[in-house]
């Protein structure tokens, strides 16, 4: 079967050409060749409406929020809080005050580590996390364990990159205090069965944080349905700007937690004797927040909703399945991460070729992929590789770009032949 007929077969509801026209950067050339951007798991690109909203805010609406009675401050505050409402609806949070703006996923996780972990986790306690976590969901908990004398318990995975649920259940005991888990793995693409895993944790009375950095951009997320206690993700991986992210937390937890940073905005009343903290979410938003970035994230959410998370997921799944089929036919390829449930992330190695060399040679063809350990060194160790090459897709990628990737890989192999 030719790839052309496969394209037709895999055609999806989403009008990719129309979507691509919204992304100015996708028109640019790299090394005098059309850009093929397949590094979306690291960071996605920004569509024109988001760029324009950012510019309009800076041109005509900017002032500090929550501070002044003048007109601009009221506009900025209204727009900033409006973005919070959009986020709350996007993940179906019960209330907007359960949505905290952070710098990104990393800060979201660190906030929970400080606010919850340092307040409630003690010597001898145990924290469960999985073998496929990003460093940002390992290191903060290690720091906490070191400080408190607690310890990490790791959920192992099989050779496909799927977590072993029997082993997970066996990790619970009287010392278990917290579970923290990637919703989707950035290195392998595995979509974890988080709903059931959360249910298991709750049966043991243990709260759960989900790292949604790779999930929120690619699928509909409903935090009430998941029943997770915390959920965190980054704006820059979902067509928004860098410097903005979200931490969702159930109000009952956020109210009990200690603040992460001290400063302006997070207080109600300050004397030298005592400070009264502000209500949530402000208790966790010390200092002037990234106002323009939050507003732009709100517009990115509008944009994704306009396309529809269902259509996005469907198109990306079609890309993944086409790319997987094509890549499997290339000699010497080993796909790392072959879970049943996967997001559109394709990690692989090429026999006899270091992923960095593959990455550099593909770049010379205008093809941007990631090569390295993907901030998940334990995953690399589990699969016995120093690094992988990773192509990760967004809804604006095309089947022709998959073909370009495959052709590029053949060229790489020719250099090494």
């Amino acid at each position: 079967m030719t790839s052309v007929s496969l394209h037709k077969q895999a055609a999806t509801a989403l009008d990719v050409d129309k979507v691509r026209a919204d992304f100015p950067i996708l028109m640019r050339r790299v090394h005098d060749l059309p850009l093929v951007y397949l590094d979306n798991a690291a960071s996605s690109q920004m569509p024109q409406p988001v760029i324009e909203r950012w510019v309009r805010y800076q041109q005509s609406e900017h002032a500090n929020v929550h501070r002044a009675v003048h007109a601009l401050s009221e506009i900025a505050t209204r727009e900033y809080e409006g973005a919070r409402d959009k986020v709350a609806r996007f993940i179906n949070a019960h209330e907007s005050r359960e949505v905290i703006f952070t710098r990104g996923t990393t800060e979201g996780i660190n906030l929970v580590m400080h606010g919850f972990g340092r307040a409630f986790i003690k010597q001898g306690d145990e924290i469960i996390l999985s073998a496929l976590e990003h460093h940002s969901n390992i290191v903060p908990w290690q720091m906490l364990c070191e400080e408190k004398g607690a310890r990490l318990r790791i959920i192992p995975m099989n050779d496909a990159g799927e977590l072993l649920l029997d082993e997970y259940e066996k990790l619970f005991n009287a010392h278990t205090r917290f579970v923290t888990l990637a919703h989707v793995s950035n290195a392998l693409g595995t979509v974890n069965p988080v709903r059931g895993m959360i249910h298991t944790a709750h049966q043991h009375g243990v709260p759960v944080l989900l790292d949604g950095a790779q999930a929120a951009p690619h699928m509909a997320v409903d935090v009430q349905e998941l029943d997770c206690d915390f959920y965190t993700f980054s704006g820059h991986k979902m067509c928004g700007p860098t410097g903005i992210g979200v931490l969702y937390g159930k109000a009952q937890w956020l109210e009990k937690m200690q603040p992460y940073q001290g400063g302006g905005d997070m207080i109600l009343n300050v004397t030298f004797e005592k400070t009264t903290y502000n209500a949530i979410p402000y208790k966790f938003e010390a200092g002037t927040p990234p106002i323009a970035a939050a507003i732009a994230l709100g517009v990115a959410i509008d944009y994704l909703n306009g396309i529809g998370m269902g259509a996005i997921a469907q198109h990306e799944q079609a890309l993944l399945s086409y790319a997987t089929t094509q890549l499997r036919q290339v000699k010497g390829v080993r796909i790392i991460g072959t879970a049943q449930e996967k997001a559109a992330v394709l990690s692989f190695t090429l026999e006899g070729i270091h992923p960095h060399d593959a990455g550099t040679l593909l770049d010379m063809e205008g093809i941007a992929i990631r090569a390295g350990h993907h901030c998940a060194q334990p995953v690399m160790q589990r699969f016995g590789v120093p690094a992988t090459a990773r192509a990760s897709f967004a809804f604006y990628n095309t089947f022709a770009e998959v073909d370009a990737l495959i052709a590029g890989i053949h060229k790489v192999q020719k250099v090494f032949a």
Binding site: H31, I353, H354, P355, H356, D357, T360, L361, M364, A371, G372, H373, M380, P386, A387, V415, F416
Partner: protein, 153 residues
């Protein structure tokens, strides 16, 4: 053809497939490990110094093609040289890779190593090319390890 691609084709055709001085050195009296944490490159370098002369040198490691070719060519270029001459090459190689030395217009002793000037077109890969040289420097100074993240480019 770009210098970057040329670098690849020249060094990979040759040194990546047939690395010179690859293996262990039983009677080594200096050793060092080189590590590039960003891409996982790792090389082990072993030398036998007689007074001030590099009698024998060998390397092993799990690395990308640029690092392996750089290590391979380094070993052939420093074998039989004095430590002082090798130090000159280390300095010149680093300067070339980071753009401080323009081998087209400035005097140097790099000879065929000049092919690595192409790595300047691949800024993310400069560290891969320089790692073996850092490691050699560490071996001379009896430091057991070198890393590309020490910020001393």
């Amino acid at each position: 053809m770009s210098d970057g691609r040329q670098l690849y084709q020249e060094v990979i055709m040759d040194h990546n497939k047939k690395p010179r001085n690859y293996g262990v050195l039983a009677d080594a009296n200096r050793r060092a490990e080189g590590h590039n944490p960003l891409c996982g490159d790792h090389i082990s370098l072993a030398l036998r110094l007689d007074d001030d002369l590099i009698r024998e040198i060998a390397f092993q490691g799990e690395t990308c093609a640029i690092c392996k070719a750089s290590a391979s060519m380094m070993t052939t270029n420093v074998k039989g040289k004095s430590v002082a001459d090798a130090e000159t090459l280390i300095q010149e190689f680093r300067d070339m890779a980071t753009g401080k030395l323009d081998t087209a217009t400035q005097a140097h002793h790099l000879g065929r190593l000049n092919v690595f000037a192409g790595v300047r077109e691949l800024p993310t890969r400069v560290k891969c090319a320089v790692l073996p040289w850092h490691t050699l420097h560490a071996a001379f100074h009896e430091e057991s390890s070198a890393t590309t993240e020490s910020g001393e480019f």
